[in-house]
Symmetry: C2
Subunit: 342 residues, 2 copies
């Protein structure tokens, strides 16, 4: 709680400085808060990347055989075509069940401090183990996933190449390690990165105005860093309680009362594409999402102009989307456990 109060104080102080800024100050100030995306993917030391692993991870990301029914792949809910999400409020999974939280984007996700809205997985490698097993998502089991893949000689070979020197390369952990390595390549540099690197004109005047407001109002107090978010936890309703908030968020993980209604701050990169917004997908409308944040987190009723300028800045975060060629997957055979819709 102390942390939250300090944060709120910083935010209000920052806000007070706003009108006096000169144009070039925006860049200087932004550089203290944000960093450009890394030029290259950052891999995990204990999951070093190689081309074979990234390609294998891509194959697995698109392979519906990791779901019990053979209907869903990672890409079903984290669709590369649509900002790394499915653009639905809650994702549809096994037997038409729905998840309880909005599927977060896979784009730039490796830069976050943790994964899932409640931060219950430490990185994308750990996260990738979740949905395959979740009853309402892919509904498989560790055993089924491994049996399916082990039955396919090409996968056995590819795991051996991707994880050289490991006696047992095709493990459940390595399925997720390969997927995680692929996901780490999904970075989407935008005009904002060019701006941060010194090209002030990379953002239009309204976008720069929006950025200034984003800093002045205090949005950047939480949404900072390389992913413009993703690097902190925060209570949803710091100042005013949002309507219809039932999900207690990180409390479910830590059982710590101070974590009630606390969620990982989402990245705002590609926010234009990753609707609907918030952990519960409560709105499809970015303008409304900005207003909600202004009110619940900052206690401000933003003017239409302020909202539009902040929106213009946020839309400048739509980056170059990954160019992903659809992998061609090796066929199943007699030994491969069959699709099971039950």
């Amino acid at each position: 709680m102390v942390r939250l109060i300090i944060l709120a104080t910083i935010l209000s102080l920052t806000g007070a400085l706003a009108p006096a800024w000169a144009e070039s100050d925006v860049l200087a100030q932004a550089r203290e808060i944000f960093t450009p995306l890394p030029d290259k993917p950052v891999f995990k030391p204990d999951n070093p990347a190689n081309a074979a692993k990234i390609e294998l991870g891509k194959m697995l990301f698109f392979d519906t055989r990791l779901s019990k029914s053979n209907v869903f792949s990672c890409n079903s809910c984290h669709n590369i075509a649509t900002g790394g999400v499915d653009q639905n409020r809650f994702s549809t999974g096994h037997k038409w069940q729905v998840g309880g939280r909005n599927a977060p984007t896979v784009l730039n996700a490796s830069l976050h401090i943790a994964q899932f809205w409640d931060g219950r997985a430490k990185d994308v490698e750990e996260q990738a183990q979740g949905p395959i097993l979740a009853d309402v998502e892919m509904a498989a089991s560790r055993d089924l996933a491994i049996k399916r893949l082990k039955s396919i000689p090409e996968y056995v070979e590819r795991f051996a190449k991707a994880f050289p020197g490991q006696k047992e390369a095709l493990t459940y952990e390595n399925i997720a390690n390969a997927i995680g390595a692929f996901e780490r390549t999904l970075l989407t540099p935008s005009r904002f990165d060019a701006f941060l690197k010194g090209d002030e004109k990379a953002l239009a005047a309204q976008e720069r105005d929006g950025l200034r407001l984003f800093i002045d109002k205090g949005c950047s107090g939480c949404h900072g860093g390389a992913a413009v978010g993703g690097n902190a936890y925060e209570v949803f309703g710091l100042v005013n309680k949002p309507d219809n908030l039932t999900d207690t968020g990180r409390f479910g993980v830590t059982k710590n009362e101070e974590m009630k209604y606390v969620f990982k701050v989402p990245s705002l990169r590609n926010i234009e594409l990753t609707y609907p917004y918030f952990h519960d997908g409560r709105t499809f409308d970015l303008d409304e999402a900005i207003e909600i944040m202004g009110w619940t987190q900052l206690g401000e009723k933003l003017s239409e102009k302020e909202r539009d300028n902040i929106g213009a800045f946020l839309r400048s975060l739509t980056g170059k989307q990954p160019e992903v060629t659809i992998p061609i997957l090796p066929p199943s055979n007699k030994d491969t456990p069959r699709p099971d819709r039950s």
Copy 2:
């Protein structure tokens, strides 16, 4: 019925010639029955292709907004990653319903005489209109599909460029025309094409033996042409009735008694990938599928060696799969009808 009897007679005569063939005769004989895939896509005269239309068609092929729920795209059931099918017995659609027939591959489909197992659509353009509206598949309506796309300025522009000179470019028919144009690009040349063009060594000895058997036994009587099938209708059970055959096939379209249990002969290109087999996906096992065909269509119990050689030939039909980069789809906005899972 007369046609079937003539066919059966031809098949048995062809079969009688087999043992005397010399190696090079196989190529000569094959050239009378099969043709290589066209080097370039063949477009429909009244749906001329241009780069804008093909790209638009690809986008629509991957856009889940053509389904009521925003869960399914064309690619869900005709997956480019897996031979242009979903490799499931029946596809899963809206509200976890299942279709009544196995999803046929989209690869090389434009070369068929007609579309669907019962040939009820004349070409891929007409076919593409079906699944979007089918209750158990994408469950949308013409109106919903058009409203969704019309709400998105980028799509409006892309339709205008894809269908130049048309006053009303964004129509339901043009959604399907664009998808059809994209689908016509999905050709998968294989070693068999190199063989047909004169490179006899493009097929291994066992594959050539299999090809000879495929011709001798009479398989090629139905499975001929560029797609090794797809260019004729035939009764399932020409000689012996298959087990558990309930679907009356083309009878449902023509109401002609002679069309009972008649289906379009499927293409065997990429057959290794397009399991499970037959209109009802009754087997996942290509060897078993070959045995079923031998018995039901030719009245023969194939030996294990015959079956394996034919299988080797059929696996040589696995072609170079299309290299498809995932399209980046424009976002929805306030005017876009929302996903509806009901």
